[in-house]
Symmetry: C2
Subunit: 379 residues, 2 copies
DNA sequence: GTGAAAGCGCTAACAA
DNA sequence: TTGTTAGCGCTTTCAC
């Protein structure tokens, strides 16, 4: 069907040719006038703008992308979009994207590497310019079904130190080390670490942080590590068992968000005087932690920083920077609230409503895991 | 630059022409073989598949979209991606999309209609096939800067009953009515409704549900409505004031998620015996509500249903269904846990750990707001 | 059943 | 500065 007339049947959006026809110029001139890449002089320019306005012309981004070979779209891959932490990341990325003229195609992997590979394949078919991913596993890209060619990609929060990609994560080894040390300093000796598993670098690092602190305090013999899996319920039942032992811990360090929630649930269900009989140090921030009593002390990650730094790294890659994979490790904060107290019934009351925040720093606690070393990481 | 050779410089992804050349057929045949729309016979078919495999050919979805005039992409617009409730919706939508061969372009409006309009404009430029939006205001599309032509669009959770679009939402008028009636039935007379504002239909409906229940119990004179705005902090301080009055309420009905969180925070901060001195009925579900004591009674929306029904409505529209705008109103559940008790110190203990769930139904309580009537709605 | 050719809407070369 | 032309990679007539 030919469609060259100056007027266009209603219902079909106007194209650049329609604008050109109405303004009495060539399509190229319209393109140039609108993009501003090449100057178009006064009168013509005005004519173009007028035609655009009159016709309600909107450039077809897809056609433009096809021609230019770039989409100004980034792919976002996270394990679970409902998870508060990942949702926070996505929120921040969206803010940055929207102010940078990018859109985001977002998908979830469900923590499954095969699904992850399939979803990424689908994003690649759409010719995204870049990829931001919270990987389902440390061996991201090792999957046999994995796409052979990826666009510029940054791995966030997980799989820190992957040899093929820029990775940005939080220094949770150090954070756990410092959190644990704090518990020891206020007098705890029986400290249980509650963690999902040892299946990821970032989890192993947390365990390592705990071990280091215990070892330095000559408490290695009293290490108690409880694995609860990736769900809140798993963590709850696992820690409940530990709390029911004849020699229960005086403090629980919950080393993930779900571990924190599970521990709170277990402690409440057992109606343990909390924090009187058991202290709790949690992980990550959520609004309920400062709404219910006792307010939860926790190690907090800065989602904003993570989002910002990973975006910047991706922008550099998309701009063609071809340097070695970078590793960006971010500091965490240890925020002391009400759920951590010295052990024993005679607890001196701590001030309520005042938060004590300690910045954990890579160089001030556990030694030897600055930027250049591996593996050290993340959530 | 000509590029007709049978081998292709590494680094540039193979095109359909490369596959055609290698298989000794035409591009059209490759297209047909892969899409399966038109039959391609045995040998050729095998040759094509072999070439695809050998070259690692992946169809360029963008080029295909441009040609076919459809993108198999839907736009998702929510006020805030970090909000648990919206994040849950997005999560569900992503699951459905991924199993339906769609991808999602997701953006946030920040509750601002102008931003919303701009972001939608940008999605339209990318030629999305459909739009799922949790609108920033009831007058969605009334904004002067609003795109004149939208793809098939479904309004979710907000702006129920909009005349121009399919809308799907939860029947929160009825839910609040029933929740309030429950509080009255167990003996409360001083019931404060804590709500963001009256600026949206769904909020006004909640107020209406409350008023109806109070009126039917001849308690209209005791109506207490506290506005806390859209933030947790606003709700906290607003309800704190109310709780500090010389005649504090015996029950608080928090009619949104942030109101619930704010109320919990206020009650805890004031160290009111809770639920002994004041009952709390909340809104929406979040995991902490069943982790901390007392477990929070709440009106819960089924995010899954909302996602599923809205997706189905959109699918119908995208398929070309041109019927009148539909209105889909979903039932909510009233889940009774520990935070709601009869007033007065002599509280009989309710069973712990057992949830009593009541399905609220449009026809079993407040009258006259079934599907056909307006305005009745939503979150 | 298969191929040649046109064209989706845009922009980059090249010419004028 | 501006217009003409040639595609980006794909699918779809339309002949054969």
């Amino acid at each position: 069907m030919k469609n060259q007339g100056p007027t266009r049947p209603l219902g079909r959006p106007p194209t650049i040719r329609d604008v050109a026809a109405r303004a009495g110029v060539s399509p190229a001139t319209v393109s140039n006038a609108l993009s501003g890449l090449r100057g178009v002089t006064g009168d013509r320019r005005r004519a173009v703008l007028e035609a655009v306005e009159a016709l309600g012309y909107k450039s077809n981004h897809m056609a433009s992308s096809l021609r230019r070979g770039e989409t100004r779209t980034v792919g976002i891959v996270v394990p679970d979009l409902g998870n508060e932490y990942f949702a926070g990341l996505v929120r921040q990325w969206e803010k940055i994207a929207s102010t940078s003229g990018f859109e985001m195609l977002v998908v979830a992997s469900g923590e499954d590497p095969a699904t992850e590979a399939r979803r990424i394949e689908s994003l690649i078919a759409r010719r995204i310019d870049g990829l931001l991913v919270v990987a389902a596993g440390d061996d991201f890209s090792a999957n046999p079904a994995f796409p052979e060619r990826l666009p510029p990609t940054v791995l966030v929060d997980r799989a820190f130190g992957h040899p093929d990609f820029d990775t940005v994560a939080s220094n949770s080894l150090d954070a756990v080390y410092r959190g644990c040390r704090h518990l020891i300093e206020i007098g705890h000796r029986e400290i249980t670490l509650l963690i999902a598993s040892m299946n990821h670098i970032h989890l192993r690092d947390r365990v390592e942080g705990y071990r280091r602190a215990m070892m330095e305090a000559r408490l290695s013999a009293r290490e108690r590590i409880v694995f609860g899996g990736g769900t809140m319920e798993g963590c709850r039942s696992a820690i409940e068992q530990d709390l029911r032992r004849s020699d229960p811990p005086t403090a629980v360090f919950a080393a993930s968000f779900y571990a924190t929630l599970g521990a709170v649930k277990a402690i409440n269900a057992l109606e343990l005087g909390f924090p009187r009989n058991v202290s709790l140090l949690g992980f990550e921030h959520s609004e309920w932690m400062t709404a219910v009593r006792p307010y939860i002390s926790a190690v907090e990650q800065s989602v904003d920083d993570l989002a910002r730094r990973s975006w910047d790294a991706l922008r550099d890659r998309m701009a063609g920077n071809a340097s070695e994979p970078k590793r960006i490790l971010l500091d965490l904060q240890l925020v002391l609230r009400e759920s951590t107290r010295p052990p024993g019934a005679a607890s001196r009351e701590a001030p309520v409503g005042r938060e004590v925040s300690r910045k954990t720093r890579s160089d001030s606690g556990a030694k030897g895991h600055g930027k250049g070393r591996m593996p050290v990481a993340a959530r």
